[in-house]
Symmetry: C2
Subunit: 393 residues, 2 copies
């Protein structure tokens, strides 16, 4: 097993009516003037934004609103947020939404005191030294950004999608009320669960076979997400199942499922190029690629794929053939993706055949023109990336 750090300082306030504590929590963590950051119309239509505003006012917390964050959040919106924070003397960032809104807040947090352009941080040209505190009211369980140290931002110039990770990005508090996820459409629910499971699987499919407690917890998170999404798609207002998924989403990405193992993250890297180029949902992009990645790499640690097949997918083990069992597990996962409406190929994802030129461009970007590899179970070269994209086409 690997040495590890585990740091999950976010105060999670989970349950019915938990939004009513937002003003009190902002003040507890030192906020006096808040940037209230959100996405589209759903936060307004559901009445959540009005509730939050009233709660902040009652707590004597001043705020400025900035909506319009889109999926694959844009650096242009981040720059707008930074300008507002400087101009208005904002001292606390409050995200109301899902991972895109939280990630946008994180970028604003890093850019607020940084002298250069915030995008340079995501290009790893520099590190920020001072950050603004962030809190969130989560409405979409998926990205796990509410407890993670990471933020992924898209630059419209060139459609580059890049991440920046730092412990200062961990939210001070995360308010989670499963009822607020009742209105999520089936497609978005399924994309979210795919992302949740993938955050766990990226950590699970490692070369380190010897962290039993972590592996077993990862399997618990995977089995829960898999079983509960079926219930939620059948009954969108099933509180307990919505709650399981919501909490699983945080546990999948607060590093708990990676303690002592070295994560892979190749599928995420390959997908970032896909959603960067086609602006598709991240979760759906992951589903479209995973099976091909798994078949391409499974012999690097076949026993891990057998374990996944048996302990997560409930496949009956073929004791004569690890390969057969592993393949049955991958097939079962693809059947599960289809059962919740997810694609398992790029064609299903984007609705047409992808061209060789597009694949070449994605592989170029993902490998930084052949200079970098991605993944850990198997270090993927540019050629490997092309092969996997072609398998997934």
């Amino acid at each position: 097993m690997q040495d590890f750090n585990f740091y999950a300082p976010t105060q999670v306030v989970f349950g019915k009516n938990s939004e009513s504590k937002v003003g009190e929590l902002v003040k507890k963590y030192g906020g006096t003037k808040v940037l209230l950051h959100f996405g589209g119309q759903s936060a307004i239509k559901s009445g959540l934004l009005a509730e939050v505003e009233a709660n902040l006012k009652a707590a004597g917390v001043d705020f400025v609103k900035l909506g319009g964050v889109v999926p694959n959040p844009r650096v242009s919106k981040v720059r707008e947020g930074i300008d507002i924070c400087k101009r208005e003397g904002i001292d606390f960032l409050l995200a109301v939404g899902g991972g895109s809104v939280i990630d946008s807040c994180k970028a604003i947090s890093a850019g607020r005191y940084f002298e250069g352009d915030v995008w340079d941080l995501y290009l790893k040209k520099a590190r920020a030294t001072k950050y603004m505190p962030i809190g969130c009211i989560l409405t979409i369980p998926a990205a796990g950004s509410e407890m993670s140290d990471g933020s992924v931002i898209t630059n419209e110039e060139g459609w580059l999608k890049k991440d920046y990770c730092v412990n200062e990005f961990r939210c001070k508090f995360a308010i989670m009320n499963p009822e607020r996820t009742y209105s999520l459409p089936a497609w978005q629910t399924a994309c979210g669960v795919t992302d949740i499971m993938m955050h766990t699987m990226e950590r699970y499919f490692s070369k380190d076979d010897d962290m039993e407690v972590t592996d077993s917890i990862a399997e618990s998170v995977l089995r829960t997400a898999k079983s509960q999404v079926i219930k939620v798609l059948a009954n969108p207002t099933d509180y307990n199942s919505r709650a399981q998924i919501m909490w699983a989403g945080s546990l999948a990405h607060n590093d708990l499922t990676g303690c002592g193992t070295s994560g892979d993250w190749a599928t995420h890297n390959l997908e970032h190029e896909l959603s960067g180029m086609f602006d598709v949902s991240h979760g759906a992009g992951l589903a479209a690629l995973w099976g091909s990645w798994a078949r391409y790499t499974r012999n690097e640690n076949i026993s891990r794929f057998v374990r996944f097949a048996v302990n997560v997918m409930g496949v009956e083990q073929d004791f004569h053939s690890a390969e057969e069992t592993a393949e049955a597990g991958i097939k079962a996962m693809e059947a599960f993706y289809h059962s919740i409406g997810m694609p398992t190929s790029i064609k299903e994802l984007i609705g047409r055949d992808i061209t060789n030129a597009e694949i070449a461009e994605m592989a170029d970007k993902c490998s930084n023109y052949g200079q970098n590899t991605v993944g850990c179970l198997k270090k993927l070269s540019r050629e490997d990336m092309v092969n996997i994209y072609k398998m997934a086409r």
Copy 2:
């Protein structure tokens, strides 16, 4: 499921040679002058204390030493620590040891700025309003105090054992090097694992059957602790197994295994009287009582005991009889306790028959002379306590 708060801000630094970061971590969390708190001779003999002293010196951190903490840590030692902190201008508490040393640090933390006597806090007569920061180097995986909000202290006058819980008790950092647990004797290793499992079981045996992700994670922690202790007892320097147990110990008591469920804690309460009266090891006391508590309460939620039997103890389910399956699970747990050298009765624990007068005295104290109940799965009256102690005699 229940609403819940989850707050685990402790920075965990886990792995080989992690002690070498202690000076840096103390400074990171604002310490300039440390009370270096420890137990008996083992920290000195192992060389750990000298290493820590050298590391603090190299980091320019001043310190004062206070050793002599005993299992079931005493309030007299806590008062001594408080006096030193006041006299010497200490601003950071560093525990080197197991749960007793950390709990003693926590009591010092609460008592340092409190105007009255620290014991009044444990008697719940008052709440402290200011606390000292605490860090720890864990050498005994058992109590889970390194990530918990609780502290249990024993008052030699009347041998009362009381707890005090507050989020300010959560350590700023916890350094965990599994190699430092190699020298733990078999008995202490087994007592520790019993405590770890019991922290999980107290949360698991609830009336709330509907937090699948939490229950499944709890079962992961239980299965891991159970399987790895067998390996460690056979090979005390098995790094991976020692590491599993060490990390399981933190996860068992940082509230992760109780998110959304209401804990029971009756066995802990019943045991506190036992170790308060006989000064026995807490873990062994828990093992001596658990089977009797389980048989006394199992019909309050028989399906939970069936699930435990099947998912944790690997018992084959008798589909005709939940009672038979539940009983087989309890018997399997008792057999496991015996296999690691733990007692399953008070006689095995204290080496003689306990008297009715002693049982009456424990039940009096545990129920505050009939005024309080303990437990949640079944609220135990004074009479119930007497019945369970008698079943366990």
